[in-house]
Structures are given as structure tokens and as C-alpha cells.
Amino acid sequence: MKIFPDNISTYGQEIDDLFYLILIFVSIAFLISIIALLIPLFRKREKAAYFTGDKWVHLKWVALPLTLLAISDFIILAKEHGTWARIEEQIPQADVHIGIIGRQWNWVFVYPGQDNELNTSDDIVVDEQNSELHVPVNKNIVIDIRAKDVLHTVTIPVLRFKQMAIPGRTIMKWFQATKPGKYEIQCSEICGLLHSRMRNFLAVEDENDYKKFLSELYQQNKQLENSLVSSK
């Protein structure tokens, strides 16, 4: 059994590597401690040794492992900090800028209209149960994350992507997907009755398919608008 699901994002591997790094440190610490815990149980002694550990020489048995632990702590922190900054703080120039809105109980997707800019009047909002979010492969996707009613959390395990969606705030996040395919988008913040059903998809497509999808979307949108106008 694999440890993680496949990774299809540019930064996912760094998160996985961090896991293995920490795993090495904690496994060593665990093994040493468990051995130190079990050995005395199997050594029968009539009379216990008397040492209180109040002397500095005794304390070296605690100080030495603690120093090692502190060093591992700092290695972990040094290793992880660059990744954190790259994922959370340094948002790259957007190739595609889209919006995700959480509502009870569906993910709503917002595409920029023909002007290719989000938050303008020609934005197209797709709010269909279990719909797909289409993005092009190997492009910087920047997302505005919002929520309508309660808290939700956008979770895309294959991208190692997770961000809470908060009513009243717009949070900007980004990713770049490296492999075309259809993947699950989960909601991992309890958001009421149908939280378990709040599942949509991420469709990663190559450039051409993505263009085709967009033009179809524009067309549908046009038709919709026209029918609204004519029914007035």
C-alpha cells in the first residue's frame, strides 16, 4: 500500500519529502526510547541503584538526547520553512485566475469571462452539484477562495492543497497541476447536514481541451443570457 495518493502538483513532492524526513527523526527517537523503556523491565535486580539525578553529571543522560532532539527540531524547521513560504506566501503571476466559493453543500466555481479577468461583470458562475473545475495543465492557477454561509475547506489531496473558505474573506491561493486527469475536491470542514456529500471534481486538461471547454462555456452563457433577455 502506498503511503500517499499520487502527487500531481509542483510543490506536493516537497511536502511528501518533509514527511519522510520527520519520519526518520521520530522513528529513531521512538526506537531509542522504547528500548530504554523495555530494558529495565527484563533486567532483574534485587536492589535498585540510588541516584537522584540532581548532580550535573547525571543530567548528561537527559541533556544529550535533548540536544539531539533540538538539532532535529531545527533541521525540520529549516527544511520546511522554504516550502511553506513558496506555497503560502509567494503567490506567482496568474496564468489563470479563478474563484471557488463554498456553500451548503456544493463547491461553486467562478471563471473569468472573455476579458480573462476575475471580478468583472462578465464572470461566469457555475453552481451545479458535483460539477467539475476545469484548469489547464502546467499553468499557474491562482484561486480566490470564498464562502457563502458557513466555513468550508477546499481539499484536493492529489495537489496537497488545503485552505479553509471563510464567509466575509477572500483568500488567495495557487497551484500548478502537472498531470491531466479528473480528481476529487473534498470539503474537510464540518459544514452541516450534507457535509459528507460535498464533493466536486478537478479536471486538469491540456491547453486545447481547456480552450474548448471555455468557448463552450461562453456559448452556453450567451444562450442563457439571451433567453433571459427574450423572456423579459
Binding site: 500500500m1 500517499f4 495518493p5 516537497e14 511536502i15 518533509l18 514527511f19 520527520i22 527523526f25 521520530v26 527517537a29 521512538f30 526510547s33 522504547i34 530504554a36 523503556l37 529495565p40 523491565l41 535486580r45 536492589k47 535498585a48 541503584a49 540510588y50 541516584f51 537522584t52 539525578g53 540532581d54 543530567l59 543522560w61 537527559v62 535533548l66 532532539l69 527540531d73 525540520i76 524547521l77 520546511e80 516550502t83 511553506w84 506555497i87 454561509d149 458557513v150 466555513l151 481539499t155 489531496p157 492543497f161 488545503k162 485552505q163 471563510i166 464567509p167 466575509g168 474573506r169 483568500i171 476529487e184 474537510s188 464540518i190 452541516g192 447536514l193 457535509h195 459528507s196 464533493r199
Partner: protein, 557 residues
């Protein structure tokens, strides 16, 4: 000592004797543990066999699922762990360990218990309210916790969420009164000669836990009060469309919620210290260092709260601060655990039931503590947050700390309070069933978490990626283990009742321990000691080289 005559009511119900009050807390706590355990049985069955009728419950929908996980978390923390480890054991042990007759304020003590008891009733009533029990998770994050319940009659007051908040408030009042009582008692009522650095570690840690609780609970009470107003008066503290902010509650909640774990951890580590020293026949290693480390850990514990919010919209640069703080807490706690390991080293180990629980507790807690490093790292938390990796991690902290710690204490101190020993044979079976089924329940959850299984999902069938075979098997294994884990507790109940009648008579000091509670009758009479003790040495003088006996009670000249 002059003690007035007692009738049934003043002796067993409205008692002011700390020993009776301690037992009242523990019995109430254990009953609530069964309630919390039953809830976990029901929702684990739902996870393993979604949509099927559950034996001893019936059909479960998503609303009940959400309510049951919410109440499971709440009950386990506030109606099981706190009342037993802090209020229960604190009442039973502190006055005896410091060599006095009772708490500083016995009547306040009695009132504290009854406020706690009322909180239990209010909580249980919340299950049966028209809208159903609270169902927004034990973290109660708004806006969900505010809007989840549509008012049904008499406004919105009679809703699960309001009653949950009221119950929590009552519980906190009770624990606050108790904590103040502990501190006053420890400061003012110590036997002559009982200096600060001769106190048993349990007394130190229980008081420290009380202080952390008092320090951290204020913001949560304020936060809960604003939530009550939001629900019942329509104010908008947490509503962004009226100028409020849902994140505000998260900060107030975790400013309390993170230290709360240390409020449970410390008393349990105190119990561990008493037992490990007595059963290795050795002084506890580096007593003073342990206490200083606990002080450092307590201070750190209140400044790392936002590590629960790495992915919930805090300033990403702030996350670094909280990540560093969290990971550095590993150092003082490692120091305490290492001191315990050094205490065992070179000891003449007596593997009696209390010691077995303690060793198993330390060994299992290591897994919980070390997996905290993964989550303390803000970067890995992007992936792990709200998955079953977290569930596995905190159950690896809480079950060794709360459940194993409680059982160790019950086996160790039962003879003191009931005059008879618990049966070791039943004890061993109880131990192995509990120990093995705990690991079988919790360990596999690390793997399903890493596979991306997110928590608080009543039914995974919407997610193809989470319906694959290894994960399905993990759900079933974990559920079967839960059933074994819960049903083996029957053995403890049998043991407690059987030994009460038929157990070996204990005598004053069956474990040959040093601390003062062992130097009086078992059970101690009302007023605790015939002759009030005077203290001549520290609590852990075992195996002194120039003595024939390997123990040296604190009050022996």
C-alpha cells in the same frame, strides 16, 4: 479533630469530605466515559457499515452522526478527563499527600461538585431537545454552530447548542472553583516540613494544571458568551455581514483548547511519576528539573494556540512563529519523559498492575507525542489537517494519558480508598484486551489519514478515492477494535465490585510507598490522620544505600 455526626445525606450525597467528593467526581466521570464510549461505538459502526441498522442503536443519519461526534469530543474532554484526572484525583490525593484533614474550603468543594453534576444533566438533556443535540463539532466553529439549529419553539433557547454552551459554562465554573480550592489548600494547609520541593509531583502538576486552566479559560468564556448572544439575541459577533468575524471565535477557542490538553496531560504525568518511582524503588530522576520543565511547557502551551489554524486564514507569516513554538514544546516534554525513563533505569522493577498501565501509557504516549512533530510543522499540516492522521495522533495522546493514566491510578490507589487490593489476574486480562484493542483501533487510522481520508464524514461513499480496499478494511478493523476496547471495560467494573467484597485486605501501605497518603489507615477515617504528620524528607527516597528498608516514608523520623 471534631467532626459532627453524619446521616446518610451528609455522608454520601451532600458530603464535604474530600474523599467522598473525589469518588463522586470519579464515578460520574466513569459513567460519562461509558456514554462517550457508546457514542464512539455507534459512529464507528456507521463508518464501517454505512446506512445499515446498528445493533443497540438503530438507523443513523448524518445529523445524528454530526451530533454524536460533537458530543463524544465534548464528553471525553469535559465530562470524563477533567473531572477524573483533575477534580477527582485532586480531591482524593491532594489533602492526603500534603498531610491535612480536608480542602481549604470543604463547602465550596461540595458546591463545586454539585454544579458539575448539574452541568452533566444539562448536557444529557441537550440530546433530547426538539432540534436535537449540538452538531457543529466539538470545536463549535461559527457560523455553523450558530445557524445549525433553527429555533423550533420558545425562540432559540431550547436548542442543543445553547444547552451545550450552558453545560460547558457550568462545568467550567465548577472546575474553576475546584482549582482555586486546590491552590489554596496546597499553599496553606501543608503539614509542617512539607516544603515546595518535598511535594509529590502529582500535587505540583495538578496545581499547575489548575493554573493553566484558570489562565486560559477566560477568553473561551467570553467567546462562548458572545456565541450565546449571537444565537439567542441575534447579535453579529461572528457574522461577517454584520461586522463580525468567524475567525475571532477560533482564536478564543484555541487559546483555551490547546492548553486544555496540558490540563489533562499534567495530572496524568503526575500519576505516572508517583507510580514509576514506587515500582522501580528509585528516587524520581531529576525531580527539580522535571518541575522546571513542566513550568516551561505550561508557559509555551499558551502561546502556540494558532497551530490549529494553519489553514484557516491566519497571516501566513504568523504561522512560522506558531510552528517554531509548537515544535520547541517537544523539548521540555521530552525532558520529562527522559527523566521517567532514567528513573526506570537501574531500578528493581515490580511489575504490578499500576506499573504495567504506566509503562504501557508512556510507550503509547511516545507515538502520540512524536507524531505531534508532523502536525506542528505548518507545511506538513497543509496536507494532514482535518484528516484521520490528526484523529490518530490525538487519540494516541489522549487515550494513554486519560484512559491508561486513570486506570494506573485506580489500580494504585484503590486499596487506599477501599481497603482491599484489586485482583491482579482480572487486571492482566483487562490490560491486554484494552492495550491491544487500543492500538488496533488507533494505529491504522494514521494510514487512512495519509491516504486523504478527511474527518467528520458520516458516509464516505461519495468519494471513490476513499472507498478503495485498504481503507475500507481499516474502517472495519478499527471498528471491531473499538467494540473490543469498550466491552473489555466490563472486566474493570467486575474487578472493582468483586474486590470490594473479596479482594485481599490491603493494610496501610501495600506498595511500600513514601508519600503521606500511605501512612494512614485504608480507608482513611473522616479527618484523614489520627496523628497529624510531620515531614522530614522528599517524596521519593527509595533504596537509600545506608538503610535496610528500601523505602523511607516522608513522616518517619
Amino acid at each position: 479533630m471534631n467532626h459532627t455526626k453524619q446521616n446518610f445525606w451528609t455522608k454520601y450525597v451532600f458530603a464535604t469530605d474530600h474523599k467522598v467528593i473525589g469518588k463522586q467526581y470519579i464515578i460520574t466521570g466513569l459513567i460519562m466515559a461509558l456514554v462517550g464510549g457508546y457514542l464512539s461505538y455507534v459512529f464507528r459502526m456507521q463508518l464501517a457499515y454505512p446506512g445499515q441498522s446498528i445493533p443497540l442503536y438503530g438507523d443513523m443519519g448524518p445529523q445524528q452522526y454530526n451530533a454524536f461526534i460533537t458530543l463524544h469530543g465534548m464528553i471525553m474532554f469535559f465530562w470524563f478527563a477533567m473531572p477524573i484526572l483533575l477534580a477527582g484525583f485532586g480531591n482524593l490525593f491532594i489533602p492526603l499527600m500534603i498531610g491535612t484533614d480536608d480542602m481549604a474550603f470543604p463547602t465550596v468543594n461540595m458546591i463545586s461538585f454539585w454544579i458539575f453534576f448539574v452541568s452533566t444533566i444539562v448536557l444529557m438533556v441537550s440530546f433530547f431537545l426538539p432540534g436535537g443535540a449540538a452538531a457543529g463539532g466539538w470545536t463549535m466553529y461559527p457560523p455553523l454552530s450558530i445557524t445549525a439549529h433553527q429555533p423550533t419553539f420558545w425562540g432559540s433557547f431550547f436548542t442543543g447548542q445553547t444547552f451545550l454552551l450552558l453545560a460547558v459554562a457550568l462545568e467550567f465554573v465548577s472546575m474553576l472553583m475546584g482549582g482555586i480550592n486546590f491552590l489554596t489548600t496546597t499553599i496553606n494547609k501543608r503539614a509542617p516540613g512539607m516544603t515546595a520541593f518535598r511535594l509529590p509531583i502529582y500535587v505540583w502538576f495538578a496545581n499547575l494544571a489548575g493554573i493553566i486552566f484558570m489562565f486560559s479559560v477566560g477568553p473561551l468564556i467570553a467567546g462562548a458568551f458572545m456565541m450565546l448572544l449571537d444565537i439567542n439575541m441575534g447579535t453579529g459577533f461572528y457574522d461577517p455581514y454584520r461586522g463580525g468575524d468567524p475567525i475571532l471565535f477560533q482564536h478564543l477557542f484555541w487559546f483555551f483548547g490547546h492548553p486544555e490538553v496540558y490540563v489533562l496531560l499534567l495530572p496524568s504525568l503526575g500519576v505516572t511519576a508517583e507510580i514509576i518511582s514506587t515500582f522501580s524503588r528509585k528516587p524520581i530522576f531529576a525531580y527539580k528539573t522535571i518541575i522546571y520543565m513542566a513550568l516551561i511547557a505550561s508557559v509555551l502551551s499558551v502561546i502556540v494556540w494558532a497551530h490549529h489554524q494553519f489553514i484557516s486564514g491566519i497571516d501566513p507569516r504568523m504561522a512560522t512563529f506558531f510552528s517554531v513554538g509548537t515544535i520547541l514544546i517537544s523539548i521540555p516534554f521530552a525532558a520529562i519523559i527522559l527523566s521517567y525513563l532514567a528513573t526506570l533505569w537501574g531500578g528493581s522493577i515490580r511489575l504490578k498492575m499500576p506499573m504495567i498501565w504506566t509503562i504501557a501509557g508512556i510507550g503509547s504516549f511516545l507515538i502520540g507525542g512524536l507524531t505531534g512533530l508532523f502536525l506542528g510543522s505548518d507545511t506538513f499540516d497543509i496536507y494532514a489537517h482535518d484528516t484521520y492522521f490528526v484523529i490518530a495522533h490525538f487519540h494516541y495522546v489522549l487515550i494513554p494519558v486519560v484512559i491508561f493514566g486513570t486506570f494506573a491510578a485506580i489500580y494504585y490507589w484503590y486499596p487506599k480508598y477501599f481497603g482491599r487490593m484489586l485482583n491482579e489476574k482480572i487486571g492482566k486480562i483487562h490490560f491486554w484486551l484494552t492495550f491491544l484493542s487500543f492500538h488496533a483501533f488507533a494505529f491504522p487510522l494514521f494510514f487512512s489519514g495519509l491516504q486523504g481520508e478527511h474527518r467528520r464524514i458520516a458516509d464516505y461513499s461519495s468519494f471513490d478515492s476513499l472507498m478503495t480496499l485498504p481503507i475500507q478494511h481499516i474502517r472495519i478493523i478499527s471498528t471491531i477494535a473499538t467494540i473490543i476496547l469498550i466491552s473489555s471495560q466490563l472486566l474493570l467494573i467486575i474487578n472493582v465490585f468483586w474486590s470490594y467484597r473479596k479482594g485481599k485486605v490491603a493494610g496501610r501501605n501495600p506498595w511500600e510507598a513514601n508519600t503521606l497518603e500511605w501512612q494512614t489507615d485504608s480507608p482513611p477515617q473522616h479527618g484523614n490522620f489520627e496523628v497529624y504528620p510531620e515531614v522530614y524528607r522528599g517524596a521519593y527516597e527509595y533504596s537509600l544505600p545506608d538503610r535496610t528498608e528500601d523505602f523511607y516514608p516522608q513522616n518517619e523520623k
